[in-house]
């Protein structure tokens, strides 16, 4: 009796999964696979969803495994395109067996987010303080380096729990790139890359993981992209920029940071805009890039990707500001529209 029930049950499961997968198959959408940065994941996931609504039958499956993962899986050929906050330099491009084109998509900000019990105020951070916290030299929240620029906030004498990324991350690249520019000690001891030798701290997987750890661990500090701090209701601080003003990350201040970039990008679309000059520029911003192979054999895939890129540069750009990413400067859009023609 039991055996018959078990048999019927397993048969039902079989039939169920076969019919459902057959149903999904009958639509037979074009499936593209992509992987990479977690920095722009919220806007990419929104874009791919919107694109699918506009073009039913095209499903772009994007997995946020970190910029390092995006680069590696693109190299291994397991995904159709990748995404990275760190632009690929010539040395890295040389390790690929095929040519890669890099398309900036949005501008985002990386900010220090914290979870200090009893402190809901917006803290100010100097570049030196951030470097010293992540170097392990500043270990308590009420350290003079932090307290001196935050008069009026009573900071507890608790140990700072430093959170960084455990995976290969473009966000890490942006953060460490900034710290390298403002702290010679950081530059010589740690340097900047998607994966660095962190002096202290816990590792979280993805922007999501860092946000999760900060949210659940009192006295934690972590670095995440702006939208993650907002969507997870985390406090985040202001950072002192090169004009010695404490700037809060926002659409305006991020756009400001990229204002001089378009000219340089005409020569080379890869650019670092951390520690940008400009009175109201937020100092820790970055473009993020889609990594598209220059030659795509499958004609349908190629045309879909090119169409998506056009869509991204026009309709897509109108959707980024709701998620607090800044639009690409118009000049850059022009450069990219021309670059799309190079995809063959």
């Amino acid at each position: 009796m039991l055996r018959k029930t078990l048999g019927c049950f397993s048969l039902l499961v079989l039939v169920f999964s076969l019919t459902v997968s057959a149903r999904a198959q009958s639509h037979d959408p074009l499936s593209l696979n992509a992987a990479g940065a977690t920095f722009p994941y919220p806007i990419y996931s929104k874009w791919f969803d919107e694109y699918r609504k506009a073009h039913p039958g095209v499903e772009i499956n994007y997995q946020s495994i970190g910029s390092g993962g995006g680069i590696q899986q693109l190299k291994a050929g397991t995904v159709d395109f990748g995404a990275s906050d760190m632009p690929l330099n010539d040395q890295l491009l040389g390790t690929f067996s095929f040519k890669i084109l890099q398309f900036p998509t949005v501008l985002g900000a990386v900010l220090p987010t914290y979870n200090i019990p009893g402190v809901s105020a917006e803290l100010k951070f100097t570049p030196q303080a951030l470097a010293d916290i992540y170097l392990g030299k500043v270990t308590k929240w009420n350290d003079p380096e932090i307290a001196s620029v935050n008069p009026g906030v009573s900071l507890p004498a608790n140990d700072i729990v430093v959170v960084h990324r455990s995976d290969g991350s473009g966000t890490t690249f942006v953060w460490s790139d900034y710290l390298s520019k403002v702290s010679p000690e950081w530059k010589s001891k740690v340097g900047s890359n998607t994966s660095v030798n962190w002096p202290v701290g816990l590792g979280g997987k993805g922007n999501e993981g860092v946000a999760g750890l900060v949210e659940q661990t009192p006295n934690a500090i972590g670095y995440v992209e702006l939208i993650y701090a907002i969507q997870n209701h985390l406090n985040y601080g202001t950072v002192e920029n090169s004009s010695h003003k404490f700037i809060k990350a926002s659409l305006a201040t991020v756009t400001d940071a990229a204002s001089g970039a378009a000219v340089q990008m005409r020569q080379d679309i890869r650019i670092s805009i951390t520690d940008a000059s400009g009175a109201n520029a937020y100092p820790i911003c970055s473009f993020t890039y889609l990594l598209i192979p220059a030659k795509i054999a499958n004609a349908t895939k190629r045309d879909t990707i090119k169409d998506f890129l056009h869509w991204m540069l026009t309709t897509g750009q109108t959707q980024v500001e709701i998620l607090h990413y800044a639009r690409l400067p118009q000049a850059v859009v022009g450069i990219e529209e021309r670059q799309i023609n190079e995809v063959q």
């Binding site: 992987a35 680069i71 455990s166 290969g168 340097g191 701290g201 816990l202 590792g203 659940q216």
Partner: protein, 327 residues
């Protein structure tokens, strides 16, 4: 069962006895062949697995040699890879988990084998086997939302205040860390110790217990001085099995260990294990050296669990044979 018996059927109305014989013979031979191929494919799969692990880690093995296991650095940028931190994390979490799990597990096994009435014992053993069936990711889920806050809010401060003079318990309590991972591992491996130890204890012949009791021992004394030593090989086997399981455990540990490739004196600090680093970094290992280093870690994990499992089986077999047949 190895003789291939071909039954000759007397077919009175056929001129094709030979053809029929032939068909029969072919049928059996075909069946033998098919099942042989399937059995051989198991051997093939395992060999290919070992071969792949060996060849794909060759780059790293030749570059670093034995230094791989004595260096702490894990630097993908400069391609300096050293496994010491992962070895430390793996060994320490497993040892602590065993230290906690063995007394509890053997204790429960003793209760189930010696004291509980047979039906109660069977039912409880059944329930404990279910604990072994819970997927690792669910232990991880509970680890993040139950064990981590517990360690951070209650256990770590308590340990720091009581034993804070020892470097083992110094440092801020993150919640995640080596201790938390060890606690989660403990719960995961206890069912294995209990179920194997219980069977091994049940296999000890009655005469041994009765002899001890006849000599005036209390129940406890007969258990701890006669039955358990008699079954000690099997219990040791269960410990090896549990250890192999703990060493290879990936998901639950990854979710609560803190992902920090560094050796720290304190148990409250974050760490990293071999299985966790493979899970976290495999998809992003750019460069063949990086990938090769990760696979070398996998190779060693495989070898260690292989040896432990082999020893465990031998010990359990030895005890069961010694004890004679059991129900």
């Amino acid at each position: 069962m190895s003789s291939n018996v071909t039954v000759v059927k007397r077919a009175p109305d056929s001129g094709s006895v030979r053809a029929f014989l032939h068909k029969l013979a072919v049928g059996d031979a075909v069946a033998h062949l098919i099942t042989l191929v399937c059995a051989a494919s198991i051997v093939l799969i395992t060999s290919v697995l070992v071969y792949q692990l060996w060849t794909n880690s060759a780059l790293s093995r030749h570059a670093f040699g034995w230094h791989f296991w004595t260096t702490q650095a894990w630097d993908p940028v400069f391609e300096h890879f050293g496994a010491l931190a992962f070895l430390y994390g793996t060994v320490v979490t497993s040892v602590i988990a065993l230290a906690l799990a063995v007394p509890v597990g053997v204790g429960a096994a003793i209760f189930l084998a010696e004291l509980a009435p047979p039906q109660v014992s069977d039912m409880l053993a059944f329930v404990i086997d279910l604990l072994a069936a819970v997927p690792s990711v669910i232990y991880g889920l509970l680890g993040i939302f139950v064990v981590v806050p517990f360690v951070r809010v209650y256990l770590a401060p308590f340990l720091e205040s009581a034993l804070g003079s020892l470097p083992l318990f110094k440092g801020p309590s993150y919640g995640v860390g080596i201790l938390t991972a060890s606690l989660v591992l403990t719960i995961m491996i206890v069912p294995f110790i209990i179920s194997v130890s219980r069977e091994v204890l049940l296999a000890v012949p009655r005469e041994q217990r009765e002899a001890a009791l006849a000599l005036g021992a209390t129940r406890w004394e007969s258990t701890i001085k006669v039955v358990v030593p008699y079954a000690r090989a099997g219990i040791a086997g269960s410990i090896f099995l549990a250890m192999a399981r703990a060493l290879g455990e990936t998901m639950a540990v990854t979710m609560v260990i803190g992902n920090e490739p560094r050796i720290a004196a304190s148990l409250l600090a974050p760490g990293y294990t071999i299985a966790s680093v493979i899970a976290n970094e495999f998809t992003e290992a750019t460069g063949s050296m990086y990938l090769s280093a990760l696979i070398e870690l996998g190779l060693v994990l495989f070898l260690v669990t292989f040896i432990l499992n082999g020893l465990a089986r031998l010990l359990i077999l030895a005890t069961e044979q010694r004890g004679g047949s059991h129900a």
